[in-house]
Symmetry: C2
Subunit: 257 residues, 2 copies
């Protein structure tokens, strides 16, 4: 039986990146698409609790069962698993291909990675794919064979100590990738700058921009891999415990009561 | 000089929980409040990139410099740091007190914790406080002295291997807390159920509900601490790398190119 592959993203169901992903996944199994009906970049792991969401069957990918959903990327995975595919086993969830990198700390802001993480939380092997190019017309063609091969390998071999991969492709100017690095998330943050101006009614507004600051000197990071022309693969998870701080440094707190 | 304490939340600037937090923090230092102008629960680490946000100075906490912001909790921290307090050093960021638990995997969905994490990302010591009670009229009075004492301890001693604490209070029926446990995030997930119905126009809608499934048998988790009547303190961070999977299990992937 062909494996069942759930495809989603955060750029919305009509983004070029998800079309590439659907075309490649069709070669590996039966594909079902559940993706946002509008762009949902930087929505993090938001879910919709205080209002209902909508789901419409659409015909955008030739012969592929597809739904647009009014919710966030994480909502798309939840409704796919619990409603659309409630009585079936999802063998793999892939999210993307994102227009823009989700390396380093971008994973926590990313709707693409949050969708993949949501699936992994419930035990589904999941991969988020992102290309280091925000353009709508980004060239995804060099990613195609690698996306297909990584996905095929995971379908074949599974994963043991992780259920979630954060895969990023560097922007290459036509050249081939140098290789694939399995590495860690680079330490860094966005130093924000606000564009401050007045709207047509004279009211002040603030518009977020920023610059990524890399703080990691380790050579085995996703940022280093990408800057050297490699595809980065970071095994990831949702346990945010900082275990290093469980060794006694906070023990005084337990004496407060 | 009095320490500078940034207070935020995700339930919105008029929620009772943030009022308690402001009142307690006023006893420890100079307080500046930047909080969402509307409820932002379950917004995860969403940030606002594609539209401008607004900021209004408001007078809701007697004598405390306060701003309501149209963005997400993470936006509130970014704009506080980069615009309102751009030329000052923030000594502590506290977020909450959240109406509802952020123990276990709730940390990834939580606007409260994402705000605190956003501050920690930029090197600010941060604490998210949450009470295991979703009620608007939740009784925060038992939390007050503990919130004050934990915050005072962090201001006094700092943290070494973490910059972020996820503190949760159990709902006690008037009784005292059993104590404070420093522990790890419990492994678990939300098994979603959708309420499916028709709107007044006959269109189908889906409304998310769910049940938390604990999958952790470890005794040293936040869920266990809370269920035994203890306050849980989980040192947390934003490195989502699953290091256990860097030991070779994915090495075949590097052979694909």
């Amino acid at each position: 039986m062909k494996p069942l592959i759930l495809v989603t993203n955060d750029d919305g169901i009509v983004a070029p990146g998800i079309r590439v992903l659907v075309e490649e996944m069709k070669q590996l199994g039966e594909v079902v698409v559940v993706a946002p009906d509008s762009p949902q970049s930087a929505k993090g792991h938001a879910i919709t609790l205080m209002s209902p969401i909508r789901l419409n069957k659409v015909d955008v990918f030739d012969g592929v069962e597809s739904y647009e959903c009014s919710g966030t990327p994480a909502d798309c995975v939840k409704i796919a698993k619990s409603v659309i595919l409630a009585d079936r086993k999802i063998d793999l969830c892939v999210s993307g291909i994102n227009h823009g990198s989700n390396a380093s700390v971008n994973i926590i802001y990313s709707g693409t990675m949050s969708a993949a993480m949501e699936a992994s939380l419930e035990g589904i092997h999941s991969i988020g794919y992102s290309l280091e190019d925000f353009d709508y017309d980004a060239d995804f063609s060099p990613c195609r064979p690698i996306v297909r091969q990584i996905s095929a390998w995971i379908l074949e071999n599974g994963m043991k100590n992780t259920k979630l991969l954060n895969v990023n492709f560097p922007k290459t100017e036509g050249g081939p990738y140098k290789g694939i690095k399995v590495c860690k998330q680079s330490e860094g943050y966005w130093s924000e700058k606000y564009h401050i101006a007045e709207d047509p009614r004279g009211e002040k507004y603030y518009w977020l921009t920023g610059e990524f600051i890399n703080q990691d000197n380790d050579s085995n990071t996703d940022k280093v891999a990408l800057s050297n022309g490699y595809v980065s693969v970071v095994p990831s998870h949702h346990d945010l415990t900082q275990y290093k701080a469980l060794d006694g440094e906070l023990d005084d707190l337990t004496q407060l009561i």
